[in-house]
Amino acid sequence: MNCRDVEPLLMPYLDAELVDGERVQVEQHLAECGPCAKHAEVSRHNRTLIRTLAKAGSPMAPASLRASVFQGVRTDEARQRQRRSLRLSAAAAGVALCAFAGHSQWRSFQRRLYVEDAASRHARQFPLEVRLPQPEALEAWFDGKLGHRVAVPRFPNAVAAGARVLNVREKQAAYIRYDAPARESARPRQVGLFVFGDTGNDVDVGARAEPDLRNSNGYNVVSWRDGDLVYQLVTDLSEDDLRELLPPEPRELRAAPALAAPARPALDVQPASYRP
């Protein structure tokens, strides 16, 4: 190793950064080369002097810093904790929001179940409690049996067969059965109408003002609301027959109305008689 090789190694050598092989080579050269040995000695002296003086001259941490530095940690920690708890409450709010969204999903699902239940109860053909063809007589029979007054609608193309009290889900309803006359060779069809109170808006009758037509278990279910009362009409009539049955403005039953939505359901659900 010559002077040129040693030069760049001198500083790491003095800093004790050389691995054994290089260190030994540098030491060998320094032992043989006077100028390099002298240079190394000067460098070592200056390095030591600078280090010693720099350290000796460095002031200690002021008492004010010593006193405040961990207090700062404490304050910061409290702030962090507060921020964490804020984040936590944000998370809790998120959970609550999800729960709320979940709940409203659940609720809208529940609201749609009335259609299913009305269809399946109609299908089971529960025996009628009373067999009377006149709507007025049926209204009289229902009087006092339910929490609400029952208006029995009249349909031009169907005749009431009778009625009973029958639940739709948890709601006690008036159930009125109508017989639609046989068309051509087909057998007579039955129409069931549930009338029940729904002050809590628990039943989905569609967002539009006109009656809502849905299909459930092979039955067409028409739902509409009139004040606090919900009407659910269940039938295995086809949509076309249903229009014949409900003639006033049968077009209104279309799912996608071409006409402007009427302010009131076009079905004639006015009470057959009025008994204040």
């Binding site: 460098s43 460095s58 941490a61 810093l65």
Partner: protein, 205 residues
């Protein structure tokens, strides 16, 4: 407020680990910021950040080096801009400078061996000389000569290769000696004059 005892224990452990290094941290911070007020703030911020990241510190590893990594990072990210520190150009310029100086500077130095720095140099002179160094050199000199970190530790703290540490340290020390020697030359004359005057007065007396 739950889990208070746990965080209290962690904090006690943290404070016990940091306390012995407060003077060292402050000494380093003072050379970086070059004023006492900023140095105190820098140490305060460093300790605060260190506590925040304390769970990331691997127990049993070099805590002092870990603290200084946070100190230099905090300084670079916050105080350096604020202090309007002049840095060494961009990275490419810096590398070419570093590539050249070994050949040029070392031969230059080999031909003209430097003299001893006189014992007359004072601590304040050395610290003031360190403060004149450009920040990249200053950081390496502070870490090597004031804090006595190894090249490897400095490379880890500053996130640069060991070769870069060596070249910056070499240049930083050379410039440091140059500044001190210039200072010495100015100071060297004054006492001599005074001494002669003193002798003259002695003779007269």
């Amino acid at each position: 407020m739950l889990g208070f005892s746990k965080s209290d224990r962690t904090r006690a452990e943290f404070e016990a680990l940091v306390a012995p290094w407060l003077d060292t941290l402050y000494a380093g911070a003072l050379r970086l910021t070059r004023n006492e007020r900023d140095a105190e703030d820098l140490v305060q911020d460093t300790v605060m950040r260190a506590y925040r990241f304390f769970d990331k510190f691997e127990r049993g590893t070099n805590f002092r080096a870990w603290l200084f990594k946070i100190l230099t990072n905090t300084f670079i990210n916050g105080y350096r801009r604020q202090v309007k520190e002049r840095s060494l150009g961009d990275e490419s310029e810096r590398q070419s400078v570093e590539a050249q100086f070994f050949s040029a500077d070392t031969t230059d130095q080999a031909q003209n061996p430097e003299d001893y720095l006189l014992q007359r140099v004072m601590s304040e002179d050395v610290l003031a000389a360190i403060d004149t160094l450009p920040i990249d050199f200053r950081m390496v000199v502070i870490l090597a000569d004031l804090q006595e970190f190894s090249y490897k530790e400095i490379a880890d703290i500053l996130d640069v290769p060991v070769g870069t540490v060596m070249s910056r340290l070499f240049r930083g020390r050379r410039q440091l000696e140059k500044v001190l020697r210039a200072k010495e030359a100015v100071q060297g004359e004054a006492p001599l004059v005074d001494l002669n005057a003193y002798r003259e007065r002695k003779k007269l007396a």
